[in-house]
């Protein structure tokens, strides 16, 4: 059958979220989009809108204040989607590991597909990571992917699936998960 999967690879649109990063990795991500590295030649657009994105680029170690937003944005991305953790903090917590106001890496909250190390991650590595993420994206299905925490099962009423309330606030059913 004619498969549309290969086109996923050709037009990856990026959502970039800063979960409490020091802005080092953010600048490197923007450098990738600039004329020198020119990510747009792969069809990459930085949409800034979860509803139209395929790749979720997260930087930062996930501070307490950013957790809800992270989940909310993740659930608002349509499948198939991949998550790329950019920078050491995002992968493991980095220099912020075990601090009182920081979670150690985003994989505590959402499933991560590609880890990009480095403090800050260099543009070459980021491009390499995004290209690897595209291979994963090609194989993914349209099944709903769910975060590990702060998540309530989506409800289906009269055949209509509602994800409106699936991302929870901290404290709202938090402990159950």
């Amino acid at each position: 059958m004619f498969s549309l999967n290969k086109y996923r690879k050709k037009s990856p649109w990026i959502l970039h979220y800063n979960a409490g990063s020091c802005n080092g990795c953010d600048i490197e991500i923007l450098a990738c989009l600039s004329p020198k590295y020119d990510l747009e030649r792969f069809g990459v657009i930085n949409t800034g809108n979860p509803k139209q994105s395929d790749i979720f680029l997260v930087t930062g170690p996930v501070t307490f204040r950013s957790r809800e937003r992270l989940i909310e944005l993740y659930t608002q991305m349509p499948e198939p989607k991949v998550v790329v953790a950019v920078g050491s903090c995002t992968c493991t917590g980095g220099v912020f590991r075990d601090m009182y106001n920081v979670e150690d890496g985003i994989d505590i909250y959402i499933p991560v597909d590609v880890y990009i190390p480095g403090c800050a991650a260099s543009p070459e590595l980021i491009i390499d990571g995004v290209v690897q993420a595209l291979d994963i994206l090609e194989k993914k299905t349209k099944e709903m992917e769910i975060p590990f925490k702060l998540f309530k099962e989506a409800t289906t009423k009269k055949g209509i699936t509602s994800r409106r309330e699936s991302a929870l606030k901290i404290g709202e059913n938090d402990e159950k998960n």
Partner: protein
């Protein structure tokens, strides 16, 4: 027959223009840029995505925006009444604006609001354009305009005014405050996703077709001049897009209404005396 084919292919032609434009813009910035077929890759990818909706009204109005715009383009190709085409285009914009307002989203509302304000700026110029063509050709029919010789010299002022309308319609700097991707996340289109966003994406291609087919009316029956004019405008618009920054919405309205309307009025009065 060729007209039917053209109508059918209109979004695809617009898509090519868009793809080409992305390359041209990249080259102007000393980049390589995406491949020519990039818009179609995007389109095919969007079909494959999980469909999200906020509410049914929103999605339906977005789809209606696309189809109405297609009808507008079809009417231009078939050589219908120019004034009517402009009003029908207004209808398509209204569908989009209604879509923007039908969801409880801040960005969508701001985007719709700006779209409405931009309409104040460009709609009178388009109407004056139609009237000026009528005064020269004695008919509002696009087919009649296409049969007569080029009217760019008597309409030079309106042509300049129309050059100001193109960036508004195509969301180009300095008049792209309606979309403003970095500030209001694309304005009206923010809540669309998957297949539904695809309709908006293709509507953008049709907008290219619409604007450039209005532009070539200035060239009349001279095909070579039409091509030269379109290419020239294409380059100018992209050059300006790359060289300028976005201006605020109220400045947009002030600039376009004062300069555009004055140019249009002068042209109309001039035509009346000549």
């Amino acid at each position: 027959m060729i007209e039917m084919l053209l109508i059918f292919l209109a979004p695809i032609i617009g898509g090519f223009v868009y793809g080409f434009e992305r390359i041209v813009r990249a080259r102007m910035q000393n980049r390589q840029g995406p491949p020519l077929l990039q818009p179609f890759y995007d389109m095919l990818k969007l079909i494959d995505k999980q469909a999200f909706i906020v509410n049914p009204y929103h999605s339906i109005l977005g789809i209606m925006h696309f189809f109405t715009l297609w009808v507008v383009v079809a009417f231009i190709i078939l050589g219908q009444n120019l004034l009517y085409v402009i009003f029908l285009h207004l209808l398509s914009t209204i569908f989009l604006i209604l879509a923007g307002f039908s969801v409880k989203s801040i960005y969508s509302h701001i985007g719709s609001n700006r779209e409405l304000l931009a309409m104040i700026a460009y709609e009178p110029i388009l109407i004056m354009l139609a009237v000026a063509f009528f005064m020269i050709n004695g008919s509002f029919d696009i087919s009649a305009i296409r049969e007569n010789p080029s009217s760019i010299f008597p309409l030079i002022l309106l042509f300049l005014a129309f050059l100001m309308v193109i960036p508004i319609k195509l969301k180009k700097s300095p008049f792209d405050a309606t979309e403003a991707h970095q500030e209001i996340v694309g304005g009206v289109e923010v809540e669309f996703s998957g297949v539904f966003f695809e309709f908006l994406y293709m509507a953008k291609w049709l907008e290219y077709f619409f604007v450039y087919s209005l532009l070539v009316l200035f060239a009349g029956n001279n095909l070579i001049f039409a091509i030269v004019l379109a290419l020239f405008t294409f380059l100018v618009v992209n050059l300006v897009d790359n060289a300028t920054a976005r201006i605020k919405m109220n400045h947009l309205i002030k600039i376009v209404v004062t300069i555009g309307l004055t140019l249009g009025m002068l042209n109309l009065i001039g035509l009346a005396y000549v």
